[in-house]
Structures are given as structure tokens and as C-alpha cells.
């Protein structure tokens, strides 16, 4: 097992843009690699993606394994898996991390099967036992009430997919140096059994939820669809995006892509309003890394107050209209606007 060395991160890119989670994983991977005193590598696949190597190195990698080929233009399990398998068999990393995105999970599952190794899904905490050289990948278990640390003792590489927005990317360092190792793949379009016909990027609210600077999230405590209007009203007033808890989605007050939490979106806005929601652990994991969290709940013992930066114990239907009023007054007084940057 000693011949397996180094920490690898799969660099997910689409049309030349690196996924945020890949940069976050370079940040997390850097820490693991430093502890183990081994290099950190990024695996970069695609068509015309060579220039992205600079970004991968600038965000923490020592090595970039690059395969640049037209057959890799779009992500497809078959072609990407073959590349990754070949690289892993040749260079033998001990740890291999992927973003827990649709493509990252798909790829990691296929690779783990071919390499006959262990894969931990949707990790939210990563550490390493330096002495045993064991990756400690922890994830919510049993519906999220408990965390389980998963180990892969006998097989290498130890693999994990990691949820977006829980690890921190390092700031880009333009002077960092690294090595680019380019490999080839022998695969032609005729060998492929799948074809990507079209990619349609989201222009709906779900996309804006992930990127939003300010989110107003409402919970079941808003009572009914009509009561939930207050959440929309506050969001409209301050130019924020609206999200909901699972109970809100299940009640049909919002479309499912606006669910925040373990089984919905993970968000890290600058300001997060949590209104009329209890702060169940499955919700909190999806928003706790927001910069400023403001909770409004009429129950002083609601767990959301543990996650909050500022808490208000009160009735949303009393507090929120007053808050809206305040913002509207600023507008009138200053003749200006209040909106998120």
C-alpha cells in the first residue's frame, strides 16, 4: 500500500469554467496533503482546458494531470472514467476527492467500482490519521441526526465525494508554481455509447439561490401559502432570493429547487434570514456557513438560534412587516433604493 501516495482532486469543469467545489476541494486537499507531507494534484480533463492548469495550481495544487482531447468536450461517464482509471492506475494516489455534484458522484461511483475501492458519499468533514495514513471522511447518517466517520482501511485510493460549499477554497496565488503532466487517451467518438446533444444552463431561481448574496428563507411557521407571501414581500423589498425548508416545499408553497438543506441546496450567502423555521439539523447543514444569519422565531428554544448570529424571539407576522416598513422608509427618506449588491 506504500506505493500509493499523494492527494488528488478531480477538477470538474464545464465549458472552461471550473466548478466552485473543485477549488474548495483543492483548499481541503492542501491541508490533507500538508499533514501527510505529500503533493496535491488536480485531475483536469476536457477539450481546450490546458489554460485552466494555472488556476488549479494557483488554488493549491502541486501537480496537474491533464488530458485534453475533443472526446472529452462534455462530461460522459464512459470517457472520463477511462481517463481517471488510467491515471489512477499509473500514478497511484492514496486519497482521491470529488465534488458531490451530479457529475462528480457519477464519475466517482464508476471509478470506485473499477478500482474496487471504497467511496464515501456526500462528505461534510475531512481529516486524516497521519500515522495510519487513513482518510477520515465524515457524513451525516440516519437522516442527519448523527455524523458517521467512514474509513477505507485496506483499499487504495481512499475516495470520497464532498458536498459543495462546506470546504474553503484558498485565495488564488498567481506566483505558486506547479508541474503539468500531460497524458493521452486512446478513445474515439465511435467507441462512445452516449452522446450529449445539448446542455441547457439554468436561468431560474435555483441558480440564483446558490449565488445569492442575501436569502430570505421561510419555514412552516408561516402558516399557509398566504402567510408565506410575507417572505416574498421581504425578499422583494430588499432584493433577496427566496428559499424554504423541506416542510415548505412539501406543502407546495415553493418549487422543490428552492429547498435549502441536506437534501436541497447548500447556500453561503452574506445575509441569511431564517424566519418561522425551527432549525432542524438537516436544514442547518445547508446554511450554517452563511456570513450573517438572522433568525426570527416565536419559540425561544428553537434550535435555529444556535446557528444564528442575531436572534429575535417574536412573531414573524409582527416583526417582519415592521422590518419591511423600515426598509421602505429608508427609501422614502433617502429617495434611494435598498438592494443587495
Amino acid at each position: 500500500m506504500e506505493e500509493y501516495q499523494g492527494v488528488w482532486v478531480f477538477i470538474e469543469q464545464s465549458e472552461g469554467e471550473i466548478a466552485g467545489v473543485s477549488l474548495e476541494l483543492l483548499g481541503a486537499g492542501r491541508q490533507l496533503a500538508d499533514k501527510l507531507e505529500v503533493p496535491l494534484a488536480g485531475v483536469l480533463l476536457g477539450e481546450k482546458v490546458r489554460e485552466l492548469s494555472t488556476q488549479v495550481i494557483g488554488h493549491g495544487a502541486d501537480i496537474v494531470y491533464l488530458i485534453d482531447d475533443p472526446v472529452l468536450k462534455y462530461y460522459r461517464t464512459e470517457s472520463y472514467m477511462k481517463c481517471v482509471n488510467n491515471l489512477a492506475l499509473k500514478y497511484r494516489p492514496e486519497i482521491f476527492l470529488y465534488g458531490a455534484t451530479p457529475n462528480g458522484k457519477d464519475l466517482a461511483s464508476a471509478v470506485a467500482t473499477d478500482l474496487s475501492t471504497g467511496l464515501t458519499a456526500d462528505t461534510t468533514m475531512l481529516d486524516v490519521d497521519v500515522e495510519k495514513r487513513l482518510l477520515e471522511a465524515s457524513r451525516p447518517a440516519f437522516g442527519g441526526n448523527i455524523m458517521a466517520t467512514i474509513l477505507c482501511k485496506k483499499n487504495r485510493p481512499q475516495m470520497a465525494t464532498v458536498r459543495p460549499k462546506v470546504m474553503k477554497a484558498l485565495p488564488f496565488d498567481g506566483v505558486r508554481i506547479g508541474e503539468v503532466v500531460e497524458e493521452m487517451i486512446e478513445l474515439s467518438e465511435e467507441d462512445m455509447r452516449t452522446k450529449v446533444l445539448e446542455i441547457v444552463k439554468n436561468v431560474t431561481k435555483a441558480a440564483s439561490l446558490a449565488d445569492a448574496h442575501v436569502i430570505v428563507c421561510g419555514g412552516k411557521g408561516m402558516g399557509d401559502l398566504e402567510g408565506f407571501e410575507l417572505i416574498h414581500e421581504l425578499a422583494d423589498t430588499i432584493g433577496a432570493s427566496v428559499g424554504g425548508t423541506r416542510d415548505v416545499i412539501e406543502a407546495g408553497w415553493l418549487p422543490h429547487e428552492l429547498q435549502i438543506g441536506q437534501t436541497g441546496e447548500t447556500v453561503t450567502p452574506k445575509i441569511y434570514f431564517a424566519i418561522g423555521l425551527s432549525g432542524a439539523i438537516q436544514h442547518v447543514v445547508g446554511m450554517k456557513n452563511s456570513e450573517l444569519i438572522i433568525a426570527i422565531n416565536k419559540d425561544p428554544n428553537a434550535p435555529i438560534f444556535e446557528a444564528a448570529t442575531y436572534g429575535i424571539v417574536g412573531d414573524a407576522f409582527e416583526v417582519v412587516p415592521k422590518l419591511i416598513e423600515q426598509f421602505k422608509q429608508i427609501r422614502v427618506k433617502q429617495g434611494g433604493e435598498v438592494s443587495y449588491v
Partner: protein, 272 residues
């Protein structure tokens, strides 16, 4: 067209309780149900069969003998046949060992009636991994298409299928050769009410139950606990959060304190 749907019996995680002393699942607290994503997978098979006007739907599950209950549920939704692989040797399987066992059963099913399409749920709600479906596809060497939100076209003549696949920031349209494997999201369809005839069939239905020895050539070391590279190291309750500052007073006082906080964040809230 022969469609096989892989399904799992899971504890209903909505009502699950954890014993805080032992950090284990209190099984009595959670009724066993058909994994909700798998219900949509079966429903999609039913939909495709009715569009094509012919075909056969088999369901396959791995689990304890009482997992035949979820197979009955699938018959109710509209499946034609149900297979359960059940054996001590499968116990303790992680996703790698699970995909191995299921792929062996699929090979056996296919040896009698070749499979055109395998459908799985996106993930099981008790594990949330989503790794078994793509693992099965690898073992059968068929292309996987995960996170499917729509089956747009099935061309029986040139044996291709066109699928809408969800991405992090949108969707893609993929064409795949059959046989292939799909994992489906909940939004792919709505679970329909079952006709009475299905219910009657389900009530009487006897699943095919196979043990390891029924599966032909199987490498026992790849099954169950032995065949599982991952182990649970420890369980712990997530670190408690600190909690912040409470804004007290009447609601007017609370709101004005909050406004101070918010207006301090000048770079965040753009107050012109």
C-alpha cells in the same frame, strides 16, 4: 422491451429515531417503506411500457425476507415480476458489494430474458449515496445516465434512448444506446393511483427469492461485509453551534436593533 427496476426497502427516515446512548437506529421507530425514488423508477417503467404498448417490467431487490413487501408494492404500481436476493452472505454490504450482488442477479435475469433498460432511484433515503446504480452499470458494462428528470424518447428500432439529465446548474439532453442504466429523480413523474387489478395481483404475489447459490458463479469474497472496503469508524453527534446574540425588547426595539446591524453591512446591502 424488458425493463428491470432495482428497488430497496428502507426505514422511513422522516420518522426515524436514534438512540442517543448507543447512536444506533431504533428500528422499531421507523416503519419500512419502498424507497421513494425507487417508486418513481417503477412508475417510469410503467409509463414507458404503456407508451411502447408492450414490454415487461421486472423488479429486483436485495434485503431480508420481509423485503418482499416492497416488491408487492412495486407489483401494485405495475411491475410484472419481482425478484429478491436474500442471504446472510449479503449482509453488511457497502455500495461496492451491493452493486456486485445486484449485478450478478441481473445477469441471471438477463440470461433468461435479455434486459434493455435498468432503472434505479437516484439514491436510497437511508444511505443517500447514489453509488449503487452507477456501480451496477460499470459491472454490466452498460452506460449509466444518472439524475434523470425525463425520458424524452425511446427508439426501439435503433435501440437508443434520449434523456434529460439534471446538472448542478441546468440540464443536459443525452442520447444513450440501449441497454443502459438510468437513475431517476423524483420530478420525473407522479406516482399514479394503482388500478384495483394491480392491488389484487400484488396481494397474492409471490416473489422469486434467490440465495447466493442460485446466482451461479459468484466470488463470495466480494459479497457482504467481506466485500466492503468501507467501514464505519465512529459515530458522533455534530458539533454544537455557539449561538449568537439575542435582540431583546419590544418588537419595535428588536427591529430597530436589527436595522442597525443590517445597515452596518454597507458592502452587503446597497443602501443608496
Amino acid at each position: 422491451m424488458h425493463i428491470v427496476v432495482c428497488v430497496k426497502q428502507v426505514p422511513d427516515t422522516k420518522i426515524i429515531k436514534i438512540n442517543p446512548k448507543t447512536n444506533t437506529l431504533d428500528r422499531r421507530s421507523a416503519p419500512a417503506i419502498l424507497n421513494p425514488y425507487d417508486a418513481h423508477a417503477v412508475q417510469e417503467a410503467v409509463r414507458l411500457k404503456s407508451i411502447l404498448g408492450r414490454g415487461k417490467i421486472s423488479v429486483l431487490s436485495m434485503g431480508p425476507p420481509q423485503a418482499t413487501e416492497v416488491i408487492k408494492k412495486c407489483i401494485e404500481i405495475g411491475a410484472d415480476e419481482g425478484y429478491l436476493i436474500s442471504d446472510r452472505a449479503f449482509a453488511g454490504a457497502d455500495t461496492l458489494a451491493t452493486s456486485y450482488a445486484l449485478s450478478k442477479a441481473l445477469e441471471k435475469i438477463a440470461s433468461v430474458d435479455p434486459i434493455d433498460l435498468v432503472i434505479c432511484g437516484k439514491h436510497a433515503i437511508d444511505g443517500d449515496t447514489g453509488q449503487v446504480g452507477p456501480g451496477i452499470a460499470r459491472r454490466l458494462d452498460i452506460p449509466p445516465v444518472t439524475n434523470v428528470i425525463e425520458v424524452s424518447e425511446v427508439n426501439s428500432n435503433d435501440r437508443t434512448i434520449v434523456i434529460k439529465r439534471k446538472l448542478s446548474n441546468g440540464y443536459e439532453l443525452v442520447q444513450a444506446n440501449m441497454p443502459c442504466l438510468l437513475t431517476v429523480e423524483k420530478e420525473i413523474n407522479k406516482i399514479e393511483y394503482s388500478p384495483l387489478s394491480n392491488m389484487l395481483k400484488a396481494a397474492r404475489y409471490k416473489s422469486h427469492i434467490w440465495s447466493v447459490s442460485d446466482l451461479g458463479e459468484v466470488n463470495i469474497t466480494q459479497l457482504g461485509l467481506k466485500g466492503s472496503p468501507t467501514v464505519v469508524g465512529k459515530m458522533f453527534t455534530p458539533p454544537k453551534l455557539e449561538g449568537g446574540k439575542m435582540l431583546d425588547g419590544t418588537s419595535d426595539e428588536q427591529v430597530s436593533q436589527l436595522m442597525e446591524v443590517l445597515l452596518e453591512q454597507k458592502e452587503l446591502l446597497n443602501v443608496k
